[in-house]
């Protein structure tokens, strides 16, 4: 199974994302922001980092990169897409997901092992978790506060599209403790914590992130 990982200028976690895909048993494929080419991959990960230096707004310039034209069209056609941290910001700026991510309410960059509850397990990226499973996945962000208007938040809750919620501590002021959401179809997921950093015991904080990457392999094989 071929899973593409986009590298934008300023991406930081593209290499870790490719490694996580490999650890999960998939074949990572490097994709380049400047290409109109998804190299026939079966799924795409938009990694964390600071694409285009976070200039203008986080994710705002990446959205208009050539590769995103292809990602947006493919996602609308059902291709599984996971946006992690900066990738989540890119998905919101692309309007593949509703809402926006704003500067942490406490004004500080946050880096911690974060407790999460996986609330939706029928997405392309979370089918490997059990319903309401509690996990620990590292979080690191400066602009991770999820915001949307009340109507949108109610709709997300009503349609069961909150994929993951912060447990114990709300690390960035996200409304309703939202850590991740999906589109209606469940093929596009945005997540602020970093599952790609939690796939091997060697590097600490456990392996609770691995199911994000094994889920999509099952999804693609099964689908």
């Amino acid at each position: 199974m071929r899973v593409g990982v986009v590298t934008f200028p300023g991406s930081l976690d593209d290499q870790d994302a490719r490694r996580a895909i490999q650890v999960a048993g998939g074949e990572p494929v490097a994709l380049w922001h400047g290409d109109h080419d998804l190299k026939a991959v079966d799924a795409v990960v938009l990694p964390g980092g600071f694409s285009y230096g976070d200039y203008l707004r986080a994710g705002a310039i990446a959205r208009f990169s050539p590769v995103m034209t292809e990602v947006i069209a493919a996602a609308e056609g059902g291709l599984p897409v996971l946006g992690i941290c900066n990738g989540f910001q890119v998905l919101c700026e692309s309007h593949l997901l509703p809402g926006a991510l704003v500067r942490n309410d406490h004004r500080k960059f946050v880096c911690r092992d974060q407790g999460l509850r996986i609330e939706r397990t029928d997405t392309a990226w979370t089918s490997g978790y059990t319903a309401a499973q509690e996990v620990t996945i590292v979080l690191k962000n400066g602009e991770g506060g999820y915001v949307a208007d009340e109507l949108t938040l109610d709709r997300l809750e009503g349609e069961g599209r909150v994929v993951a919620r912060y447990l114990d501590v709300n690390p960035n002021g996200s409304l309703r403790d939202i850590a991740g959401i999906s589109n209606e179809r469940g093929n596009v997921v945005g997540l602020m914590p970093h599952p790609e950093h939690a796939v091997e015991a060697l590097t600490g904080s456990g392996t609770d992130g691995l199911p994000f990457f094994t889920s999509v392999l099952t999804e693609v094989v099964g689908g």
């Binding site: 203008l56 707004r57 310039i61 700026e93 926006a100 309410d105 004004r107 915001v147």
Partner: protein, 78 residues
């Protein structure tokens, strides 16, 4: 040559931590009576030839601002 000025501000209901930090600094250096500070962005775009107002509004909405969290105003200085 026209100069198109686009001002972008966070919507009133969106928390502005940068504005709050500036507010704190103003208090520290002793500017009396500050009730609130909001920080925004200003774009000055120099354009040759006719200014297409509709197109300017499009880019202000799609690139220069994010309508989920921000409002914008456009002014053209000829």
């Amino acid at each position: 040559m026209a100069r198109v000025v686009v001002d972008v501000m966070l919507k009133p209901e969106i928390l502005d931590p940068q504005g709050k930090a500036v507010h704190g600094a103003l208090d520290r250096i002793g500017l009396p009576g500050v009730v609130d500070v909001r920080q925004g962005k200003r774009f000055e775009i120099e354009i040759e030839g006719e200014v297409d107002d509709a197109r300017i509004a499009e880019v202000a909405e799609s690139l220069l601002s994010n309508p989920v969290i921000e409002d914008y105003t456009v002014r053209v200085d000829d």
